[in-house]
Symmetry: C2
Subunit: 500 residues, 2 copies
């Protein structure tokens, strides 16, 4: 297995350069002084290019081919066989994108970001429109370079959710929509029956931090192999499976914003901390897709973190930390408040019921922009029409509409669906874990999370990138991605809260 | 100038990889969780090897040679001519050290560090002795690889203080010793006349931090292009001339430890922040030697930071922050306390008068170890004999003697003299700045540091590595490194404090 060993050494080097680049990016978002900006951009670009060149070199291709021949007949489930599958996939994708395109995308994204910020600040879509057009064009070219069977959007989606097809997403979302829209509309009518005003008082930021750290430590985020810092936008980043960091931001006038964001990021981070140590430093030491990643963050944020059992365990402590604000608020009122459902313009502020409607809107619009049935000129109207259709709202301006998300300015088209897939998968995995361990809810009630985390470790985290996302879901739950678990979860939880 | 342009691009890439490695090292010392240790070592080693391979490749040598031919006749003072001088020096040194030696040194240092820590903790020299022997052997081989005219120590010294010869240091130190020892002995007799006990009370760490940050901001450390964090050992590190960071550590029972360490590191950092923007990203964007670097840190820490004028400006504010501890302490008593002179075992705790005696001891012993007149078996006794000779003390154990410094465990022999050279140069530069701007002391008294910093910027910082250290001192002061300024400074300051 000489070629395989050489290939692993080479991929290990690529992995380490990428990890170093990640450290630079983390520092940029957390501690870097303003003066560092230009040099940091150059450093990141140099390291990215080095990693790319090393990975896409002919020598890598030669070693990969030779290793594949050596490895014929290897057990499909072995780490080596999985490594070769993943390396082949990554390599083929990486060599298909010409350096000129990569360079142009990177330059365009850098410029588009500033224009998007400005457009959003001024609620003026015309500023961003030419950049959206460029991004659509760059993504169409990307799809051509990468190739696809059915439609260009397949190639785009595949980057974020390997193996997933547009038609599959359309089918899943179609079924989901049919059940979700009536449920949402029924709940929206009762929106006023839940009061969450006490969540919006002054909450000392230091105390918020203290509580959030207690919570994520308790659910299983390992601070010996991670840390939490502050950044403008929360994120999770790994430099090793033994150094997986998260960030958050604190808002003095909101109790839940930083808290649920911390739990969300800790969910992402526990996924990476749970990858098998044997995979450390290899191309397999990463989450297998954004959808699976989101299933873990949403599991802990929503299914666990917004459950009655969870707050049975933590609410007394929270009241102890904020006696003035919460001393008189009963557990049931608190539980209802953190689960308040109401239609809104903004995706990132959406509740569990509305959230997927925001995603479906984006999935539809992205498809229409990519297949040309909607032009960039028509896009804001198309957005607003869909908002009305899905949520019964018309954004008063484009900042609260089509300009709200950063993703398109980064060139990321095909990314949004992974959020909803993650929601569906989180419920499906939780259902299966409950079947095997019916005591999980009562454990959560006692502040114990080991059984649930253990099940996720064994069935999801452990494997890293060994299996494709759909494959992994089927191995873990015995069936393909379905909407039954998620809809069942919503109906039970919100049916009870809103008495419908 | 095509080859020069290509060479610059290549050196720029090396520079950026090294800067990235520095970010990784900074993170390791400040924020990295324990779990990150192994992966970080691999990442640093990969990047270091990449930078080394790129820099020492034949292509770099070829471009360098071609660029030298192209650049013949270029003005000596031009950036390009200086870049080629420095690149040639670095390249020749780098290619002379065989990769096997570099690898062995790096492995030995990693192991020796742990053994040194243990030896020091247990005050047991026998644990460290075999590692010191290995380090001497490795340094002797290094000297042979690098080559030297006079003695092997020349080659070692040259790495830290380019162009400086052992004989020069011996001459300078000989002259210094003649004047310094009698002065020190006279002062030591009066040591008890200064009371510094009030510096060792409880000082709230947050308040210490607040004051230190006020001070270093005021003297000119630019927080827009830097930041201060906490680490086990204070250091300065640059990722760009616009991102130069310092660290410190706070001791709740000492007012001066963190404060003067912050000013010291800020002195180093202001040097790098002051390098001309035109040199950013090039091989010239660094300090020119450890001695010059130390001249800047010591200038701000001692000549400025321990001056009466400085505390005239800052003492009222310090009293305001620590009214309980300092409310009744007069400025004069405070000034005398922070300048208390007393013989001690430990270099890093030494006052301005004793400090250089500690260095001379190490310089002599390093030379004897390298030329073989003292063996590793004899080294502790030799150390103790010199301590008695220079400072009139006999260390009660080797932890307070030969085991106190980390340097030899890192393989750094030839490094120590740069500390004393820095002290001498700091006084020499300050003298010259005063000649040109006699108002500097009264500006300092008003808390204004712009004239002094401006002079250093223009004469030292601005040039980066364009000139060799001795050359730079001569350009700035019109004469070679001398002891007159430093001895004059000590005599005036301590003669007054100790009334001799």
């Amino acid at each position: 297995m000489e070629s395989l060993q050489k290939l692993k050494a080479r991929l290990g080097e690529v992995h380490r350069i990428r990890a170093a680049t990640a450290v630079l990016r983390w520092d940029q978002q957390t501690y870097m002084p303003p003066g560092g900006t230009n040099a940091r951009a150059e450093q990141v670009s140099t390291l990215s290019r080095l990693a790319h060149e090393l990975f896409t070199s002919e020598e890598t291709g030669r070693l990969l081919e030779a290793a594949e021949t050596e490895a014929e007949g290897l057990d499909y489930d072995s780490d080596d066989a999985a490594l070769l599958r993943v390396a082949r996939r990554d390599y083929d994708l990486a060599v298909k994108l010409p350096p000129d395109w990569v360079e142009e995308m990177s330059r365009t994204a850098a410029l588009a970001h500033g224009e998007w910020v400005k457009a959003k600040e001024e609620a003026d879509y015309s500023i961003f429109k030419p950049w959206l057009a460029k991004m659509i064009d760059l993504n169409l070219r990307k799809a051509e370079y990468l190739g696809y069977e059915d439609c260009p959007y397949d190639a785009l989606l595949d980057e974020y959710e390997p193996g997933m097809k547009t038609a599959q997403v359309r089918e899943i979302f179609g079924a989901l929509r049919k059940e979700l829209v009536p449920l949402a509309q029924a709940i929206f009518k009762q929106a006023d029956s839940v009061d969450d005003s006490f969540l919006h008082q002054h909450f000392d930021v230091k105390k918020q931090e203290q509580f959030a750290i207690e919570v994520i430590r308790q659910i299983g985020y390992d601070f010996e192999r991670g840390r939490q810092d502050v950044s403008a936008h929360p994120f999770t980043i790994a430099f090793s499976i033994n150094d997986v960091r998260i960030t958050t931001r604190y808002e003095p006038d909101s109790l839940t914003s930083a808290l649920f964001s911390s739990i969300h990021e800790a969910g992402h981070a526990m996924y990476e901390q749970g990858i098998a140590q044997e995979l450390e430093g290899s191309i397999l030491a990463d989450g297998t897709s954004l959808g699976i990643h989101e299933s873990q963050s949403r599991l802990w944020e929503n299914i666990v973190g917004r459950s009655r059992e969870f707050w049975h365990a933590f609410y007394p402590r929270l009241q102890e930390i904020f006696p003035d604000q919460l001393g008189d608020v009963k557990l049931d009122a608190f539980y209802r408040a953190i689960n308040k459902v109401a239609p809104g313009y903004i995706r990132v502020d959406a509740d569990e019921v509305s959230y997927n409607l925001h995603i479906m809107l984006r999935f539809e619009l992205e498809n229409e922009l990519i297949d040309g049935t909607v032009t960039v000129d028509q896009a804001p109207d198309a957005w607003n029409a869909k908002m009305d259709e899905f949520l019964g709202l018309t954004p008063p301006n484009d900042a609260l509409g089509i300009l709200q998300d950063i993703h398109w300015s980064m060139g990321a088209i095909g990314y949004f669906p992974t959020y909803s897939l993650g929601n569906l998968i989180s419920a499906q995995l939780y259902d299966r874990a409950l079947e095997e361990h019916p005591d999980i809810p009562s454990e959560i009630e006692r502040g114990e999370f080991g059984t649930l985390l253990g099940w996720m470790r064994e069935n999801i985290h452990h494997h890293g990138r060994k299996y494709m996302p759909t494959e992994l879901v089927e191995r873990a739950t015995g069936e393909p991605i379905q909407i039954r678990s998620f809809m069942g979860y919503l109906r039970q939880k919100f049916g009870q809260i809103y008495d419908i």
